[in-house]
Point group: C2
């Protein structure tokens, strides 16, 4: 039996991801390329607390959205990777990001990636998902000319422009 209150897809999704941090953690793994605990903790723009991050990571692993792998470079390092289920959240993230930049008081440099991804449409989402599959499911290195690189470049340019205004 499902642990949920009802078998409605929106309700079950709200039970799983409907909290302050789950989506933000997934965003950082998906778009930020952060895959280790310390990296997620210190590079987080919003300043997540370590205990919350730990509890979210284990919840997402248990839910099958992240998987844990040993990192060959360091015996204690854990490599969190997106699963296929999480990768298929890309269209959700894209629509969510598009809605957020339309209706909420976002900062330009932090919303440019969402706007590019939304503008790219389903074609770009598919390319991005294929790229995430190669990196997170097959362990391939991050391509330098992929969708993520493109989004990151746009973000860095916007951030530099925001730092040095006028």
């Amino acid at each position: 039996m499902p642990e949920g209150k009802s078998g409605c897809p929106i309700n079950l999704t709200a039970e799983l991801l409907g909290d302050r941090w789950s989506l933000v953690v997934l965003r950082d793994v998906m778009f930020g390329g952060h895959r280790h605990f310390r990296e997620l903790l210190t590079h987080s723009v919003e300043g997540i607390a370590s205990n919350i991050l730990a509890s979210r990571l284990s919840k997402l692993v248990e839910a099958g959205l992240l998987s844990r792998h040993d990192d060959p470079s360091h015996r204690q390092k854990i490599d969190y990777r997106l699963t296929e289920a999480a990768i298929e959240l890309v269209p959700v993230m894209a629509q969510l990001g598009a809605w957020g930049s339309r209706w909420l008081p976002t900062t330009p440099e932090l919303s440019i990636r969402a706007e590019l991804l939304a503008a790219g449409g389903p074609k770009m989402w598919q390319r991005f998902m294929d790229e995430l599959r190669a990196v997170h499911l097959k362990g391939r290195p991050q391509p330098a000319d992929g969708v993520l690189a493109e989004l990151t470049l746009a973000y860095e340019r916007a951030a530099a422009a925001a730092d040095r205004p006028r």
Copy 2:
């Protein structure tokens, strides 16, 4: 200054809708056609508590996703209507519902609407949004041949089939 921790669209959306009930309430107004407090309270499949419903409704009103209107049929009755911002959540809901039915243990009769809406694609989402605008923004009566009627019919058939199995 925005009240949020960061101006990232995903973060701001998580701050606004990232809780157990906001999406569920919006779903019931959007797809269930429930627009009064008691209706939302008693028809809720998940059994939301009245204080939580009250707090979510006022939060959503303050956030500009719902608007309050007097109901001519009863002086105490309040008509909660979707705003344009909430109506533009339709693509988010569609992708979210599609993801939920793919990856979570949904019940067939409760996921059929999500599957139909996902299968209908952006064209159907636009038709649905236009219909919601007519009803919620312009106060037109609910059309008997619209997208909502179609989804509701499919749900009722599936529910009847689930009640009387084999």
